[in-house]
Symmetry: C2
Subunit: 246 residues, 2 copies
């Protein structure tokens, strides 16, 4: 039973053309006169409680989702129970693109906190993007960006050592918080050490130790999930100049 909340008149006032996430989200770069046409694209919103799935592996693919509030992780489960977190998503980012290829979702999307998403009917998106060039182009960009991001993660997982991976992760989070108008230096992680570890191909103990080492070296101040970056240059150096191992 999906908890899809039907659209109310009040909700409709806050559709794409009025949304403050515009410049991060799907409609970015569209001509003003086209923006209002998006308003009927977002057919509904859905609230997802912390730890609950937005969709699961094997679910029928019908829509993609734009995050309005909150954050998510996506993961793939292997038969033997191993989990690989494939990404963390924040407001304005798009979820569900994995489902287009087979009409079934190929990963789980789990809310890291109570969250709300815009439900974008996929057939209507295809339809509308045949009419609105800017939408089509932006949609392609969003998919392409996802591919480029994934290549970055492969770089992380394939050729970096533990501390480099964590440094890259922290800098990436910082940059994404900045893009949303939050502090680049101080933020709150919504995921556990285990989830970070899974994403980075490390065990939670290794993540914890790397955090401690960064703290000892004065690069960051860590208090559980609360992170303060003290020396972002130092973190960058760690990635670039670490002797080439692996």
């Amino acid at each position: 039973m999906k908890s899809t909340v039907p659209v109310t008149a009040a909700d409709l006032k806050r559709v794409c053309s009025q949304c403050n996430l515009l410049e991060l989200c799907l409609p970015f770069g569209m001509a003003d006169q086209d923006l209002h046409r998006l308003d009927d694209l977002v057919a509904a919103r859905r609230k997802i409680k912390r730890q609950q799935p937005l969709y699961r592996t094997g679910d029928l693919f019908e829509a993609i989702y734009a995050i309005r509030t909150g954050s998510f992780k996506t993961d793939v489960l292997l038969e033997d129970g191993r989990e690989q977190v494939t990404g963390f998503q924040m407001t304005g980012e798009i979820l569900g693109l994995d489902g287009i290829s087979t009409e079934l979702h190929s990963c789980n999307a789990i809310a890291l906190e109570d969250s709300e998403v815009c439900v974008i009917s996929y057939p209507r998106l295809e339809e509308l993007s045949r009419l609105v060039e800017g939408l089509q182009h932006q949609f392609h960009k969003v998919m392409s960006r996802e591919i480029v991001r994934d290549h970055g993660v492969m770089m992380l997982l394939g050729s970096m050592r533990a501390e480099e991976r964590l440094a890259a992760f922290l800098l990436n989070m910082s940059q994404r918080f900045t893009a949303r108008g939050f502090s680049a230096a101080e933020f709150h992680l919504r995921m556990t050490r285990e989830e970070i570890g899974s994403y980075l191909g490390l065990k939670l103990e290794t993540v914890s130790r790397a955090f401690s080492r960064f703290q000892d070296e004065g690069l960051v101040a860590v208090q559980q999930k609360h992170i303060r970056i003290l020396d972002s240059g130092g973190l960058k150096n760690l990635i670039q100049h670490q002797a080439g191992l692996r």
Copy 2:
């Protein structure tokens, strides 16, 4: 100076509607009456010599490429010289999707053997896919498939041990050769141990040792780049039932 070969009358006879790679490539699933409209999409072909780049990181993005003959690797280079191979591509597969997001290519595409690609002008592809629903949908599927594939690689890199990674790699190659009408059991790898290693996040010595172990265990017969799979079930078992490490 790009070695783009201009289209000749003879070439045009072999465009999409006549191409034997149809069911693997972009036009798959399109209505017959629309297929001929693709024929002016492939504006040119390009031949790429072994070891030569089809495009490089930072190159302006103008087109995507469908592989007609041969094969490629894509890789990302870090400032300090580390290389991460992000994928191996075979006939019928699409290259260049990484470029859409920033209008610049974000990786290198290098021919593993003398190869030929169809050059698909990206602006014309967008234009045509606004007119031809089947093309639009298939293009989206191709991008989505790339995302799903990347998640699979993250799973490999993040949660599997060396032998599991190589087993998964061999099974994947076998499956793709099969889809192209070649033997599932016997094939020729076009990439070096080092390239396989980079893709799998391992050193070439580790790849070599894993090959030797597989050979000792009677799973495959290895002779340099020539591979014969003797027990594909055994390889599959290796992936699924390996005690959960990492």
